[in-house]
Symmetry: none
Subunit: 197 residues, 4 copies
Amino acid sequence: MSERADEKKQLILSEAAKVFALKGYRNVSMKDIVEACGISRGGLYLYYDSVEAIFLDVLKSIDDAEDETGKNMMAGIEDASSADLLLWFLKEQKKEILRGKNSLSIAAYEHAFACKQAGKQSGSKHKFETAVLVLEKILTRGNETGEFDCENPGGVASNMMYTIEGMKICARTVGITEKKVDRELVYMMRQFMEVED
Amino acid sequence: MSERADEKKQLILSEAAKVFALKGYRNVSMKDIVEACGISRGGLYLYYDSVEAIFLDVLKSIDDAEDETGKNMMAGIEDASSADLLLWFLKEQKKEILRGKNSLSIAAYEHAFACKQAGKQSGSKHKFETAVLVLEKILTRGNETGEFDCENPGGVASNMMYTIEGMKICARTVGITEKKVDRELVYMMRQFMEVED
Amino acid sequence: MSERADEKKQLILSEAAKVFALKGYRNVSMKDIVEACGISRGGLYLYYDSVEAIFLDVLKSIDDAEDETGKNMMAGIEDASSADLLLWFLKEQKKEILRGKNSLSIAAYEHAFACKQAGKQSGSKHKFETAVLVLEKILTRGNETGEFDCENPGGVASNMMYTIEGMKICARTVGITEKKVDRELVYMMRQFMEVED
Amino acid sequence: MSERADEKKQLILSEAAKVFALKGYRNVSMKDIVEACGISRGGLYLYYDSVEAIFLDVLKSIDDAEDETGKNMMAGIEDASSADLLLWFLKEQKKEILRGKNSLSIAAYEHAFACKQAGKQSGSKHKFETAVLVLEKILTRGNETGEFDCENPGGVASNMMYTIEGMKICARTVGITEKKVDRELVYMMRQFMEVED
DNA sequence: AATGAATGAGCCTTCATTCAT
DNA sequence: TATGAATGAAGGCTCATTCAT
């Protein structure tokens, strides 16, 4: 693919991302994206065959960006305390939980469901498992440094991520308050460390 | 509404429920339901104006049925131990988590998202909050009988329900195994009672 | 037809007349009439096969009633002056012109057009021609009594009715004011009699 | 709008005009127009959103054409006598009155009624008022040149147009003969000029 | 590469009409 | 007679996808 084409794809992805954040996945038609990008219907088809193809690429590009951020973060604070790492991690999760619009999460859920219905495999698996692993690593390190006292880092990590995932979905369906999120996060941390209110 | 019409509605609801379980919410058209029910297009409109109206009634009829079951269960085991009640509660949740197809949960999520996008209010809030309350009541009673040792029943209940909700959504997106569910449930119970592996 | 059935038809006609006055002809469906009459769909079909059949009967019943009124009026005022008769006639026409809603005239036009399109004959011909004849008779009598000075009563009568018909249709399309109607009527009368402003 | 699109619109308008002339306004569906134009359903929607939008544009294009003709006519015969202008004007009106099919007038009436029922404003007002003004101007000029003797040109003009409008509607409902039209026109002209039979 | 007009399938909705009760 | 549930045709509209330019 030429450099020119690559730029075009970037344009499409960044505009499409806004559309998905605003309208979810199921409500987005090729027309929406075409209009958001300011290109022609046929032009879009030169790069992507379907809304789904675009969405998958949007997700991928965002994941790549997040991985990058994550790595930089990790690298930049290699000498940070485990508690700091944990706080950073949970703060990110909290942001994601509370980010209602401007977030692709609803679109991602919708897409996952559409895949399920069609018998396809959605791409969200990797993201969740990665988060569990990162969390587990932080806990383990905290155990080593004596910051945490966590018998079963793997189990705790996976429990925490399920709870966080539960809050994420609840925020998008039944609703949740920031206070509630904070309470849950503190509750989780108490399992292996001292937290003041 | 005549009894005749009521029977027809029951037919529609039960057939539609199967369709929603199979195809989710967004993929279901009036045509799908019409065909599933073996009635005419116009005939369906005599009873329901839209797919959404049908879906809401399907949900309601199921909730009613569940409330009924729940009450009977509660009544039938009023002298059951709190531990038994908790086990029954968690077993129900586990079933719901693992019930992939044959479940309306995906459709319910999709509907909640569609509501969100349209600025409407989905009906799932009540269900979640009720579950938290039931769980809290069980925990409190267990404290009183000395079966459980749970300092903060409200907090634990809400934490447990978020975790369960997280597993539910994960089961429908990234996938989850029964073993994993069991491990999480045991982990949760360990917070306030003795559980053997 | 039994007396019972006749009463039912009367009910239908009187309710339907209101509907036609309100919604015109083309916007009226069997359902509208059924609802207005408070009878069943099938019940209506026992008496009338179509909206058109009902409308024609409504027109007929109204024409009959008007003929009756007209005859009574004519009889009751046989010794009235021709000028008085003319004034009564024009007053009736004015009322009809200005009666926007609450009038079947739009429905009648719509029906006539529908007939035209379908190659049928509408029933409005008779009404118009009758009016011309009545007017001509009044003018002729006025000539005889010396009240009017009208060389060509037939021509004037037909001219006046076309003008009145023109105002009627304009009232329903481009709009017309009462003042304008009065001015036109006075203008017409000046052709054969003295009229003060 | 590109030239290409403009041509397409022209095609649609000219085909649609035939359809409206043949079937009136209320009997015309998008499907009718689509078939008349030989294009696809979706294709038509690229240019017009509704039958009404098409009809309004048809009317407009015809009005524009008529304005053009009128101007040319006026220009070409600036030195014509007022009597000639009047004759031309009345001849046009006569043509319009007698043009049964091949005329959009029924459709225009139907549309006006549909607007009335829907509480909208139909566009026919302008046309009528313009005609009154033109006629008044002709009469006034005729007075100045001594060709006519008309005390009240405004009143006469409006009276004439109501009568003409009456004939127009009668031609489409109760029917009218050419002879009858001629007689009326002569009758009107006699009000302010000498006319031989 | 890029355009955007055009297609046609598919869904939604209404309504005249029939028919078993 | 009377009911009103049921039907299916018909019309409205949208959208993914293609294709000539």
